[in-house]
């Protein structure tokens, strides 16, 4: 490792910062094209209603309003429905019925943004309200109104998914000494990246070329979806260019295809003009896809001595009116099968029912890969409940049960092969760093004085980096990812990737991988993403898959270049290729360090003096299909104090030990963990989307959807252990989401721990002051 190269392991300053700190980023709403018009959307005030009439005349009379598009206008184009990434279908615009509040009803196209909004206000829609189903458990009752009458199946069950050994698990439960059981609701939340979603669509009627600038985490997949959805209109994949420019945060919310995108494309095709659609924050919170909304019943069976034996989990998943999640085809409940967590359960059985309700689509990510937060929260809560039941220290109980380091690679009872781990090592480090023993003593003292202090632990196992392609696809497209590297004659390189950064710093970290592999300074390497006309095909950035998959592709492409370079170096050094080794970032003749060539010298020769018979140039592409997922992990310890008057929970300290394998850029990794922890704090204490019985959203703006500010967010403390992935080319595992997965349980466990001596065993998140105050009053300890 050489500092001047800026390879793996260095906190290299981010290349992308130069434009962002000057206000020179290029986000979708910054794109302004000549003749561009604006699209705005009329949305339903009802959660379920028949549309009796849409009167567009007043809107069309406004000077500057060019068109009002309704569902009926889309029928001749066969665009009123679109397929979802889950193989369901979703309305672009309704022809007769709306399914949730804030659903798109019509689109207004106008010469200016404000006039488009005037047009939206002037569209008059008559509705006939229909019965509303908001509770997914009631939605499964035989007499529940059927929400999706378009389906052959006349009930609200979307799918039933199960995994594990039902009978074996039942037997293990019967034979166990202790069973703990808990209902856990993980509420609906929304990622609310600070940039909302939007698009500029430009269709050229002459050459049939469609160019879109779009807030998407997966530009290539989107290009293919557009070709599939609108191929019959003449949109052909070679003439579709999806540009994902700078993206102001994604977290999973920019994976799905929203109706607004399709409408912007449709409006550009119809008018021949460039069309911009940028959603408001309220639209973003009320109508885009949501995360979580899992109604879990979890049971854990153990021996008296604390040995965990079996796990049984039943879940109802509220997916809203359209199953528009972005899970891999074979896994409608995502990677919820990681629910056995960091423990060697002998038996487990998990079942999930996906259910339709009159809510916007649910089940997408909230900075976590495919339902892993729900899984980690369930198991880490259950472990604490078992500790309470057995009167054991929760750290001690975890240490007793962890899968030991020598057991890796470890095959879980639900069939996941954990690549590597050292769970006890991470927890021990966290305990030492935060002073666990001292905190427990302090807690005893405080309890004597009536003060409420709690300590919570979460020792989670993540699962990221989908593929492998034999198990993972989205809409049939296999979950590989790609990198292409071109080394120019002067030894500078261009790297293009199929993934897309939304703030993760790819322009820097992927350059560091190439620097490390090729011995070129990181400053000489340019990374490009997010343009389907130039980047190799990839599935995009979500579920912490960029480093595990595209990072691996980058290393493998670089190694192909290094192998070709070896032949060129042999030619230049007049040695046999077998005698050339790559050492200290150079090609050297074995045993003769003085005889060496740098990658820059080899690159020049690749274009000026390459061996005859060899192709000129120095470039490579790699489509990497990971042999397995990666399994980052960590142990978090949280200390809370509770105000007995207000019920407010204050996170006093939070120490996070993460292990994401090999770290490429420690500064960026720490930043990812800080952000992830904050998005773990948010649902634990603040964020929640509720609906009333009529399906009206509660908290549909940032005035009442409580994203943590700098005042609520503690000064996170972090530490690390490093257990490389044995199957990843550089040993990296991915880190963007670990903290979001691990943090909520640590916080909830800390709050319950503070109240456990009063007989409290569980509180559903978000743990608001009101909820805590009710408990304090009930227990007679409120001040």
């Amino acid at each position: 490792m050489a500092v001047e190269i800026g390879g793996i392991g260095h906190s290299v300053g981010r290349k992308e910062d130069a434009r962002f700190i000057r206000g020179k980023g290029n986000y979708v709403d910054d794109v302004k094209l000549p003749g561009m018009v604006y699209l705005d959307i009329v949305r339903s005030p009802y959660a379920h209603a028949r549309i009796l009439k849409i009167d567009t005349s007043k809107a069309l009379a406004i000077p500057g309003v060019l068109a009002v598009i309704t569902g009926k206008d889309l029928v001749p184009l066969k665009l009123e429905w679109m397929p979802t990434l889950m193989g369901d279908k979703q309305m672009v615009l309704p022809t007769d019925t709306v399914m949730y509040q804030a659903q798109e009803v019509a689109a207004v196209v106008a010469t200016e943004r404000y006039i488009a909004a005037d047009g939206v206000a002037a569209v008059e829609v008559e509705y006939e309200p229909l019965p509303v189903v908001v509770d997914p458990i009631k939605a499964l009752l035989p007499d529940a109104p059927v929400i999706r009458e378009d389906r052959a199946q006349k009930n609200n069950l979307i799918w039933h998914w199960e995994t594990g050994d039902r009978e074996g698990t039942d037997k293990a439960f019967s034979a166990s000494d202790v069973v703990v059981k808990q209902d856990i609701y993980i509420p609906r939340i929304v990622v609310a990246s600070i940039e909302t979603c939007g698009m500029v669509a430009k269709f050229d009627k002459v050459d049939g070329q469609l160019t879109v600038w779009m807030t998407t985490q997966a530009p290539h997949a989107i290009r293919t979806v557009i070709a599939l959805v609108a191929g019959h209109l003449g949109l052909s994949e070679q003439k579709i260019r999806v540009i994902s420019p700078d993206i102001g945060g994604g977290f999973g919310g920019k994976v799905p295809v929203y109706p607004g995108y399709v409408l912007a494309i449709g409006a550009s095709v119809l008018t021949g003009l460039p069309v911009k659609w940028i959603e408001d924050r309220s639209e973003n919170i009320q109508a885009d896809s949501f995360a979580r909304d899992y109604h879990i019943t979890a049971e854990l069976a153990a021996k008296k001595d604390g040995t965990m034996k079996a796990l049984r989990v039943k879940t109802v998943a509220d997916h809203g009116a359209f199953d528009a999640a972005a899970n891999p085809s074979k896994f409608p409940a995502g990677l919820f099968g990681i629910v056995t967590g960091s423990y060697p359960f002998e038996k487990a059985f998990v079942e999930v029912d996906g259910v339709y309700t009159n809510k916007p689509p649910g089940g997408i990510a909230y900075r976590c890969s495919f339902r892993v937060t729900e899984a980690a929260f369930a198991i880490e809560r259950l472990v604490d409940i078992l500790a309470l039941e057995l009167k054991r220290d929760p750290a001690d109980l975890r240490m007793q049960n962890f899968i030991p380091p020598q057991a890796f690679p470890y095959m879980s009872t639900l069939g996941w092969e954990y690549d590597s781990g050292n769970y006890a090592g991470a927890l021990k480090l966290a305990m030492d760093k935060i002073g666990y023993a001292g905190l427990r003593k302090e807690q005893v003292e405080k309890r004597k004085r009536g003060e409420l202090m709690g300590i919570g632990i979460s020792s989670f196992t993540e699962i990221v980096g989908a593929g492998p392609s034999k198990h993972f696809d989205i809409l049939g497209i296999k979950m590989f990812d790609s990198a292409e590297i071109r080394v120019h004659p002067t030894g500078k390189a261009l790297v293009r990737l199929g993934v897309k950064s939304q703030g993760q710093g790819h322009e820097t970290t992927f350059a560091q991988i190439v620097a490390e592999e090729l011995g070129l300074p990181v400053g000489d390497i340019k990374v490009e993403e997010g343009d389907t006309d130039t980047a190799p095909y990839g599935l995009g950035t979500y579920a912490s898959r960029s480093t595990p998959v595209a990072g691996a592709a980058t290393a493998m492409a670089a190694r192909k270049i290094r192998e070709k370079g070896r032949l060129i170096a042999a030619h230049l050094l007049e040695a046999s290729p077998d005698d050339i080794e790559w050492k200290d970032y150079k090609y050297q003749v074995k045993g003769v360090p003085a005889k060496s060539k740098t990658m820059a010298e080899v690159a020049f020769a690749a274009y000026t003096n390459h061996p005859q018979g060899m192709e000129a140039g120095l470039e490579a592409v790699d489509y990497y299909d990971p042999p397995n997922l990666t399994y980052p992990f960590g142990s978090y310890i949280c200390v809370v104090d509770i105000d007995r008057g207000t019920g407010q929970v204050k996170v006093r300290r939070f120490f996070a030990v993460d292990d994401c394998g090999t770290i490429i850029n420690p500064m960026i990794v720490e930043g990812q963990i800080h952000g992830g922890l904050t998005m773990g704090l948010a649902p634990a204490l603040y964020e929640e989307i509720n609906y009333d019985k009529d399906g009206n959203i509660q908290g549909g703006t940032l005035m009442d959807y409580l994203m943590p500010t700098s005042m609520e967010t503690p000064s996170w403390e972090t530490g690390k252990t490093t257990t490389p992935s044995p199957h990843h080319p550089i040993g990296a595992k991915g880190v963007g989401e670990s903290a979001t997965v691990g943090a909520p349980a640590a916080i909830a466990n800390a709050v319950v721990d503070a109240l456990a001596h009063l007989g409290v065993r569980h509180i559903d998140i978000p743990i608001t002051p009101w909820k805590v105050q009710q408990i304090l009053k009930e227990k007679g300890v409120a001040e």
């Binding site: 300053g13 981010r14 992308e16 910062d17 130069a18 434009r19 962002f20 700190i21 000057r22 206000g23 020179k24 980023g25 986000y27 709403d29 910054d30 302004k32 943004r113 404000y114 990622v191 609310a192 990246s193 600070i194 940039e195 909302t196 700078d246 993206i247 102001g248 945060g249 977290f251 408001d280 924050r281 309220s282 939304q502 703030g503 993760q504 710093g505 500064m667 960026i668 720490e670 930043g671 990812q672 800080h674 952000g675 992830g676 922890l677 904050t678 998005m679 703006t701 940032l702 005035m703 994203m707 500010t709 700098s710 005042m711 967010t713 000064s715 996170w716």
Partner: protein, 167 residues
């Protein structure tokens, strides 16, 4: 309506609808797209600019209210090729990730340091509590502002050695 205002030191004029928001004047008419829009309820602060030196959320100010006044945006922070200490702090301390909240966050920071050159951590957190960030968890933003505070303090001490040591 005709408005005349000074933006980043340059005089600007525009003919605007009375309802035009300042943020749209800045972004769409003046093409200064560094100022962002992140919400519709004055909650997120991505649109923060300085109006006569005070931070305002420009989504909640009409363009006509800025008539005759001075507006500073992120594009005006760098002077003669030298980054403002706040810009330098944000990149050195990794105080930004996606960059979307960053301009507003930096303008709030600049205003804070103008009125309080050496803020405590709590004062920094209070000052930026009207600016939401979804990526960083604020820890490194606090450090970035502390970095700028130190750097500006050092620069001031160098310029005015006689004033050194004064509170």
């Amino acid at each position: 309506m005709r408005v005349q205002l000074t933006v980043n030191g340059a005089s600007m004029q525009a003919d605007v609808e009375p309802r035009l928001l300042l943020v749209h004047l800045i972004r769409e008419n003046l093409l200064l797209t560094g100022t962002h829009i992140g919400c519709d309820t004055t909650s997120c602060g991505a649109c923060t600019v300085l109006l006569d030196g005070r931070p305002v959320k420009s989504c909640t100010v009409f363009a006509v209210q800025a008539d005759g006044r001075t507006v500073s945006t992120v594009e005006g922070l760098e002077q003669n090729g030298v980054l403002h200490a706040v810009q330098e702090g944000f990149t050195k301390e990794h105080g930004l990730q996606c960059g979307f909240c960053t301009p507003g966050m930096m303008m709030t920071s600049v205003a804070l340091l103008e009125r309080n050159a050496a803020p405590t951590e709590l004062q920094i957190r209070q000052a930026i509590s009207g600016n939401l960030c979804r990526c960083t968890g604020y820890v490194n933003i606090v450090k970035a502002i502390q970095y700028a505070s130190t750097k500006m303090g050092e620069a001031k001490a160098e310029k005015q050695p006689a004033a050194a040591g004064r509170a």
